[in-house]
Symmetry: C3
């Protein structure tokens, strides 16, 4: 049974009527509160939401919290070493249990009346309640949780979508990076004045990169699309890929994206909301840093800096660029119809020591610049798409194939819900 | 005729369908804008709302203002010494008349066009209007006002609920405190990030006191409920009550609450939205101060510090704890679906002089700590009850009988309206 | 076809049912979000909105931007010297194009993907799009723009209301002021906590002037209405008008408003949403300054300071008071149901030099005081009209004839829409 209110369903259906192939979405998708409530139900409460890094949950009792729309969630490392997630809400009168972003608990004790839950969410104490109380429904409400290669996901749905396919793809690709044994070197939180889908529209094309990302384009081949990759560029990428191939094969790595331009993602026809690729960097760049030189010790299983760049993405809220020496992840969370909170996290090898092995001045700028450049573009888009003068415009099949893929993925899933 | 819009009535009715005995309220009651509009109509515009202390309105022309939701109200001491209250809105074009929180006026003059009203609200001048203007409807719109023992209440309803029963109970109990001749020693205003009903849920139980109120529990027996009051505690309270009894009888005081735990309130079966008790403090405490020692001169008619504690409460927005030397009142006002403004006021004897007879450092901490501890818990509850993972949980008959009583009082009155 | 949503139409129709002649508007008109959406559609997206001064757009490529509700607009001086206005929104994916309030551009280049438009709005470059793209619909969406005597107006409607009558009246009256060749001496932006109609209610009467505008009333005859203009005052105005008459005739100026009190405006019977008058100032005042003395060099075609005061007004958002030496314009823009943004601009002769020919300390106070006094009254009105105790009150036919005229103009136009 859908929790979607009838009025929200109708508003979403009306908005869907305005959608066309290879056209940007109508303005209602970027600000109408009813459409946003539909988004929360269909994408944020049913999808697999990236939540945290497992290295932030190192030992039993470690917890992290986050809020998905109005739903506070807590993830705890259990006594058995496994992760568990719960609605971070007391089963007594609904009080938020763990109020910090991170911490460590023996048991989870409600600050209000000290109802106490163990690390598996079981109610172990509720002093003051009658002895005959039926406790069968008073354990913490579980939230589905999964971990792949150090990435922790939660799903609020009663019946989550299949996670196995995502795991099968991502785990082997991400394993050499060893993010589960990484250290969080830095976190930057952003409040983006744009609907979450505008952030994805931005993420899914490098059509905007040439002018807006002077740092990013030095390191990558993403912005060379089929229509403007010169023979010289194509040859450069092919040569770099060929050079890496033998070495990578020995390491068990593979260049899965071998052409200029961005890899295709998402794939609405096969409901692929996840992706993982490894691809080469421009010659002379061993990492995504300002000058392409290594900025931290090698991570994980990499014996050599020449490992290209590993990219991971999962809808509705995660992407990661990982190089030989560090990984940068971005987590999105919705903040109302016209806002998105973004957390960018820099990971380095677990035993790297700041000041000795790396400095934030060298580690951060590449993705700090690139991220902030993007947030600025997203907010400029948000200001325009709510205009009565805005009309959905054409998407370029050569440069915005992934914007179109995201649009289709989004529209088809929303339509399946509101027209059901 | 109800002013409640049809859509708000329906939203409230749907929410009411989710209410169960001895269960906390569904989440819609703590944030849905439509339910909040119903609350404003049924509880805030029809109930008796505590507004001010009559000692703040000492002489004719003194006024105080407050806003109940979007309704500005002014209360004025009239030439005959009586209090009158009005919508603080000019009958010309609706401008707010008295813009300060407190002041003194000869006549009430609108700042816009100087329409002038006397202290009984009668329009006495409207220069520039035609001579033939029908003035019959242009006096200030009266708001019902009542005073009990120095406490000033207003009711915005055309036909207010009976006030006589409240007066009959409270006036004799509160008379010895002489709050009408008190001095306001301090005021603290708070913005609580919680729906007003969560503030009452908090106020109506001392189940949360043990851990959260280290100051409060030293002075009081409230947190010893039937299930955890040891024989020693019961005997201590009985002994204290017995010791006070003879002395109090001579003073015309009576210990009306003689058992550990909180007195029962409200009483939905008899629509008792008001209450008054006197009860003993813990031995060694003559007042609610950090160390139990007197922090100001004796108030009112008390010849002796041993008068226990007087508690007054009225729904939807008032409670008071009064000791021999000072009284502390709390006034709530709604601030949208998820906020409440609270004003805590400390009263001392009218002739007490700060610096000589009392200091704020001694007077304030007990209730400043206790209040702020409560507001923090209320905001933690607010964060949780809007979660899709929140389910109304069980109330303890032994510890939360008053939360249940408040729930029933609230639900029954709202249901009577939306189902009428 | 109206863009007005059915629910907004119904809300506006219900509110209209409460309107009565010579009564202020019901409270719903000053805060209900649905009524506000109707206002935006009917008045702000269909009316001629004052946007800027043409002297701010001196040479080809100069642009100014503003937002009418959620609609960003850009006005550009074209290569042919004419003005053009556009939705400031890229026809690709809706990004806001020009992000500054003022600037100069060769071509308009979208910051996102560098789609490029010439100064006539034509798409001249969209690199990366397929060659076969149908560009017929990808020029910038034009917004109607008109200029009268240095005042630039835009209209967002597909078919704007007639502008010719406004031009025919205003242009000859305003021509001698030469505002198109003026210099912007100062700009002050205000955020008024009041619905835009309360700002007009305030503007349309001088009933409030005596007490609230001590500076303004020294210079003007506006506040002497038919009922309180003494014979001495009438004679003073008649004498001043007679004295000016011969001299003005020689200059081609005429005193079109010759009586005390405010000129009638608007005229709902003839849909006159524009007005222009010239009238005398009080003897001894040659300009609207604190002491009546000239505060800047003569403007425009005036050979002599004795030119009285020129007043221009256009609904929904503009008024101007111009004297021999400077002009002050006020531009309103809606900021939600309960807010209005106001920009007050002081113009002086183009060749006047600050510090040498004028000082802001002398130029600004008269209208800075008067404006801020008005904004304060508007916000006091806003606080009252949302009360459940507010009832529409009587308007004085002698003092508030223009408030009534504005009310009728507003109500009739809204009714024509929502009942169509």
């Amino acid at each position: 049974m859908s929790r979607l209110a009838a009025a929200d369903r109708i508003a979403a259906a009306v908005a869907l009527d305005g959608c066309r192939p290879l056209r940007s979405l109508p303005g209602a998708f970027y600000g109408d509160p009813a459409v946003h409530r539909a988004d929360v139900e269909v994408f944020w409460r049913r999808g697999w939401v990236f939540a945290a890094h497992s290295c932030e949950l190192a030992v039993p009792g470690d917890y992290v919290t986050l809020s998905v729309d109005t739903d506070p969630v807590v993830i705890v490392r259990g006594d058995d070493g496994g992760l568990r997630a719960f609605h971070n809400v007391c089963t007594h009168r609904g009080t938020v249990l763990c109020r910090e972003e991170q911490g460590r608990v023996g048991r989870i004790v409600c600050p209000y009346h000290q109802w106490t839950f163990d690390r598996s969410g079981a109610l172990v104490s509720c002093r003051g309640m009658p002895a005959e109380l039926d406790r069968s429904d008073l354990d913490l409400a579980a939230v589905h949780v999964e971990e792949i290669a150090g990435l922790v996901y939660v799903c609020l749905a009663a019946e989550p979508p299949d996670f196995g396919r995502a795991r099968a793809l991502i785990e082997p690709m991400a394993r050499p990076q060893r993010m589960e044994r990484a250290r969080v070197a830095a976190v930057r939180d952003y409040s983006i004045a744009a609907n979450w889908k505008l952030v994805w529209d931005n993420n899914r094309e490098c059509y905007h990169c040439n002018v807006n990302h002077p740092q990013y384009i030095q390191a990558n081949f993403d912005h060379y699309n089929a229509d403007d990759a010169t023979p010289r560029i194509r040859e450069a990428m092919a040569a770099a890929t060929a050079r890496s191939e033998a070495k990578w094969a020995a390491l068990g790595l593979a260049a899965t994206h071998r052409e200029t331009g961005m890899a295709c993602f998402p794939d609405p026809d096969h409901d692929r909301w996840f992706s993982a690729n490894r691809t080469v960097l421009v010659d002379g760049w061993v990492t995504e840093s300002l000058d392409g030189r290594q900025v931290a010790p090698l991570m994980g299983a990499y014996p050599d800096p020449d490992v290209g760049t590993l990219r991971l993405r999962t809808l509705p809220n995660f992407w990661c660029h990982a190089s030989c020496d560090h990984a940068v992840t971005t987590r999105l969370l919705p903040d109302g119809p016209t806002g998105t909170r973004a957390r960018v996290t820099w990971l380095v090898a677990a035993d790297a020591v700041e000041g000795r092995d790396y400095s934030l001045e060298q580690l951060l700028p590449f993705w700090q610049f690139t991220s902030e450049q993007d947030w600025d573009l997203c907010s400029a888009a948000q200001r325009g798409v709510r205009s009565s003068g805005y009309r959905p415009g054409p998407l370029s099949p050569q440069k915005e194939y992934n914007v179109e893929a995201f649009r289709r993925w989004y529209v088809e899933r929303l339509a399946a819900e509101v027209r059901s």
